[in-house]
Symmetry: C2
């Protein structure tokens, strides 16, 4: 672990071809073939950590206006200022759509934010998390205590390993919900967007169990989304829906979620039946809900016409 | 009007302190005290126009992946790729909330995009537009034909002048709807966010008439929004609501709208009663609706908890 002056470290990282993809001096810029021709930049006050794990480049910096920022392979994963939107929505969209979820599996999500949100549900008895990269867990615990607080819940069991293998080995029909909090489908998360993985998820879920997976941006990745929707329709015989939310520091300012249920008791994702019970959850007082509510849950499934048309065409196939 | 090679012009503009505020070499970066510590950048293929009107710097460039881009005083106003979201929502949120709008006033909106959307409503008989900066109109007609197409509608009357003065002189109770398509409250649009202006709007509207005004980002400008909401509650004695939508090239990826109605027939903005009648509108076939639909209309009024709490606290005052 290294601590360096922001401006100097930033220039060094750029010039040395390190973990920052490109930069205005003193700024972090996110440039990727996943969103060609555009870049979002944050002003860097100080680089707090730079490391290279077995899987990816890991960086944490203190930004001028978005709090601390976690970056993997040059792509922003979370900022303290807007992480609430992503963590709350990817968790409560599935968990508020079924009654009394008891056993939950998180794939990826090494920062612990999804765990923090799952823990708000008092019905939950056991939470497995399978994260491939231990460095992400360690870095989050050190630099993002209000996110990694999720690990403090006694219901959580951490498995460091490959999510694909973990799911293959999971007991059939054992989970009420599987949440896939992955990075983009370029890099270590690629397999998490492919059909064999979705088949494993469906097998691990109980009848009428639910999956929620990060599913890119309707403004940038309709081709990827169409593929995910088509795959999910083949594999999940219950409900298959696409939802989305705002996250300012993600490319195009939005991120989507694929929500699916297995054959069994019907799941109506658009009309949540399960409230978050804040009582009895000691973490809630330290990090209260900021974003999620019943109205925003239902609204997340309303799509602009251009996206609705393409997604529904895959539904009919 | 000037045409220059993109990279050269960009560097020149930066080094000379021209209309581009800052830049990654060959890119346009949007840096402003309105969103400190962050910047969105677009790759520039060619600068098509740079001029200085009596009111502001005006620039048009061809971007690598967002089509042509209109920039005023260094701030992106529209891109060909995502302008549909803003233009359709700022127009149809108010016009689909009342039955048979006939007389509509647009303040600002010199690019013509709001006119294009108003023109989709076959009930509309007359559209006034008051834009302060003729250069914006001329530039849009030259570089953004699918946006400026709004001016081709025979129901449109263009007034070049100050919107504040225009509204003061307007006949009392004469408009069904006033749409305020302004830039940010720094620069020529500042007065359009102040109480005397809202008073003029309310006077110009018929009983139960509606206003929709651009109202910044819930992620960046809650202080400004709280002020607008409080002012509107004092002035508009019908409904007062805040809505928002995604626009990738606006700071934080979202933009909000303040929707208000005057005392009179009740307006329920959240439940649109008026459909867009595509028939009989010759422009619709050239530039079809891409974003707006009934579901996204209703969803636009669902706010994240952090914003809902602050906006509702102003509602109760």
């Amino acid at each position: 672990m290294t601590e360096q002056n922001g401006a100097t470290a930033t220039s060094a990282a750029v010039n040395g071809g390190g973990s920052i993809s490109s930069i205005i001096p003193g700024w972090f810029s996110e440039i990727s073939p996943m969103w060609p021709g555009e870049a979002h930049s944050l002003k860097v006050e100080k680089i707090l950590f730079q490391g290279k794990s077995d899987y990816q480049d890991v960086m944490v910096f203190q930004s001028a206006t978005y709090g601390k920022v976690l970056v993997l392979d040059g792509v922003i994963q979370l900022t303290e200022r807007d992480e609430c939107a992503y963590q709350e929505m990817i968790t409560h969209l599935p968990l508020c759509s079924i009654s009394n979820p008891k056993k939950v599996l998180v794939i990826g999500g090494g920062d612990g934010g999804v765990l923090r949100e799952v823990a708000r549900h008092s019905s939950v008895e056991h939470i497995d998390i399978c994260e491939i990269d231990k460095m992400v867990v360690d870095v989050s615990k050190e630099y993002f205590p209000d996110v990694a607080i999720g690990y403090e819940d006694p219901r959580v069991t951490l498995h460091i390993g490959d999510g694909v293998a973990f799911l293959k080995a999971a007991q059939v029909g054992s989970y009420d919900a599987v949440i896939v909090d992955s990075s983009d489908p370029i890099g270590p998360a690629q397999e998490l967007f492919e059909k064999p993985f979705f088949e494993s998820v469906a097998k691990a879920l109980r009848p009428g169990g639910v999956m929620c997976t990060q599913a890119e941006s309707i403004w940038l990745h309709m081709d990827i989304i169409e593929g995910i929707v088509a795959n999910c329709h083949q594999i999940f015989k219950g409900s298959v829906n696409y939802a989305w939310t705002t996250v300012p520091t993600y490319p195009s300012g939005v991120i989507g979620f694929m929500l699916c249920s297995t054959e069994g008791p019907e799941v109506d994702f658009k009309n949540p039946i399960n409230q978050i019970d804040a009582k009895g959850n000691k973490n809630s007082s330290r990090v209260p809900l900021k974003f999620y509510n019943r109205e925003i849950h239902a609204a997340a499934f309303c799509l602009p016409s251009f996206a609705k048309k393409l997604i529904e065409s895959k539904t009919e196939n």
